[in-house]
């Protein structure tokens, strides 16, 4: 219905392949490809039209290409019923895909130094981001971490597109043993980074935000919260986020995110309703807060 909003399409699978410990599916979806900006995701129906697995599965868009009119690739690991079903798709199967969803990573206006931090499959959206940043003349450095060597996604590509790429694994089977945050400070200093972009599990995002804070640079994080709709109508995907006006709101990570400024996400309060959040039990909103709320436009 609109030119830049998401579309729902039944798209043919071009191919399904293994990439390290992951599966990559490429679908032909010109409408999604042409609207896509890095950081956005797709949601995919699993199990067929009358499946008992009702809800879509969200996946970050890993790549779009102009081939075949516009293809979209996403990457996943098998976690449960839905991803197991997806892993069995073959070329020419049809997938019902909605996208692109969510707010993209904001891009700097000027060429600055950017460090991109990914954990496990959270690395996927950082690759198109790296390309966009490079096109703007930004320096890009990668820090990728995972549990083990086979879960560090696309180390070769990271080395190719970035100025430097540092890897960490929990078991030490690849790169440095430890966490991404163990090496991030050093990378920020050596690369003279101006901004951090991060995607991965919530505890990682929290730790990365803390490191960026000690270096006094901003951080953009892409969060992962369970989502029933991905389109902003179910209110199941909320996280506590402080607005520019200083008011904490429970915002929808699917449409108000998944990308937020790290400092604005109240990581300590994820999974709870902070007492001072707008509309929390006992909340006594000022008239200014109410006015701000009604002026605020929803996505």
């Amino acid at each position: 219905m609109s030119d830049n909003g998401p579309v729902q399409v039944r798209c043919p699978v071009l191919n399904v392949r293994r990439v390290d410990a992951y599966y990559a599916i490429t679908v032909v979806a010109p409408g999604i490809a042409e609207r896509f900006r890095s950081g956005q995701f797709v949601s995919v129906s699993v199990g067929g039209d009358h499946s008992s697995t009702l809800l879509r599965r969200p996946f970050a868009i890993h790549d779009v290409k102009p081939d075949y009119g516009g293809t979209v690739e996403f990457l996943f690991s098998v976690r449960g019923t839905g991803t197991a079903w997806l892993a069995e798709r073959r070329s020419r199967d049809l997938l019902d895909v909605v996208g692109p969803l969510g707010r993209p990573f904001p891009l700097p206006r000027d060429p600055v130094n950017c460090v991109l931090v990914g954990g496990g499959s959270g690395s996927a959206p950082l690759f198109p981001l790296a390309q966009s940043l490079r096109r703007r003349g930004c320096r890009v450095d990668f820090v990728l971490g995972a549990a083990s060597a086979d879960r560090v996604f696309s180390a070769i590509t990271a080395r190719r597109v970035a100025e430097t790429a540092v890897f960490t694994t929990d078991d030490g089977s690849f790169g440095t043993r430890g966490r991404v945050t163990d090496v991030l400070g050093r990378v920020i200093e050596e690369a003279r980074s101006d901004v951090v972009y991060a995607c991965g599990p919530m505890p990682m995002l929290r730790a990365v935000t803390a490191v960026a804070g000690t270096h006094g640079i901003p951080v953009q994080v892409s969060v992962e919260e369970t989502m029933a709709c991905g389109t902003g109508i179910c209110m199941t995907c909320v996280v506590p986020v402080v607005g520019d006006d200083g008011i904490t709101r429970m915002v929808r990570s699917c449409v108000d995110g998944p990308v937020f400024r790290g400092e604005q996400v109240r990581f300590d309060d994820v999974g709870s309703i902070p007492f001072d959040a707008l509309g929390a039990p006992g909340w006594k909103g000022s008239s200014a807060a109410r006015a701000a709320e009604s002026a605020r436009d929803i996505a």
Binding site: G5, C229, M250
Partner: protein, 313 residues
Amino acid sequence: MNADLRTRLGGLDLPNPVVTAAGCAGAGRELAQFFDVAQIGAVTTKSVMLEPHAGRPAPRMAETPSGMLSTTGMQGPGVDVFLQRDLPWLLSRGGRAIVSIAGAGVGEFGELARRVSDAEGVSAIEVNLSCANHADPAGRYFADDPAQAAAVVQTVRSHARSDLPVLAKLSADVPDVVDLAGACVAARADGLTMINTVRGMAVDSRTLRPAVAGGMGGLSGPALRPIAVGCVYRVHEALPDVPIIGVGGVRTGADVIEFMAAGASAVAVGTVNFSDPSACARVLREFTEALDARGIARARDLVGAAHRPGTGV
């Protein structure tokens, strides 16, 4: 042939019987990216409370077989913001608005009914009787007790503009849904919406913890449909003149036929909007095609067909 899709809910005329379920379509704005919201019968807006509410903590959702459990806890901006921001948007797109209200107590329901009546362009008020009754320390629902439910409906009816239809939304989690329906109608509800989610739980077999924060959640989706159809059937049998919006697991045009045959005059699409953002438009199209294929000239002739022998095809 093109079937006449018009339907009537008490004083409310709708161009067709497909509407959205409260809390499963926002105020129509997000779904409008996928289809024209003026095309469907009406948008039932998410239950609005008097004050802003932050809702329940995450995780708020767990998938279950053919359904989901949710605990959003009425998160919303409060009635003022809804009336200033969300309702005008829906009306500007030519959408018809059934405004769902949820009061923390009986008095709040009255206040909400008054404010919503003062707003222009509202088609009907739906009374959500399944929000926790704050006066009750056990957090029971108004719908749990027919007398309480009736008190709410009566308050809403007396505060709402007299020409605005008031629909009572019932829960199936009660000893007898017919008793509850009867109490609401006696309190001058113009119609009934049934059903709301049913209380349920899922335990994560890995963490051995409840899958949604707070333990219990509301079950919705196709898993619920036989329960909902059963409620509609029984209530239509007992109160054949009372219009009903059937809700619970509607996924296809055939499901609309099922609900209407059981006694519903309109049918709401809920959880399936999450899995298929075009669902309302698709369901309406499938329903229309099914009527044409069977040579049924008027959708409203279906209402209650399951109660009459020999009307099937």
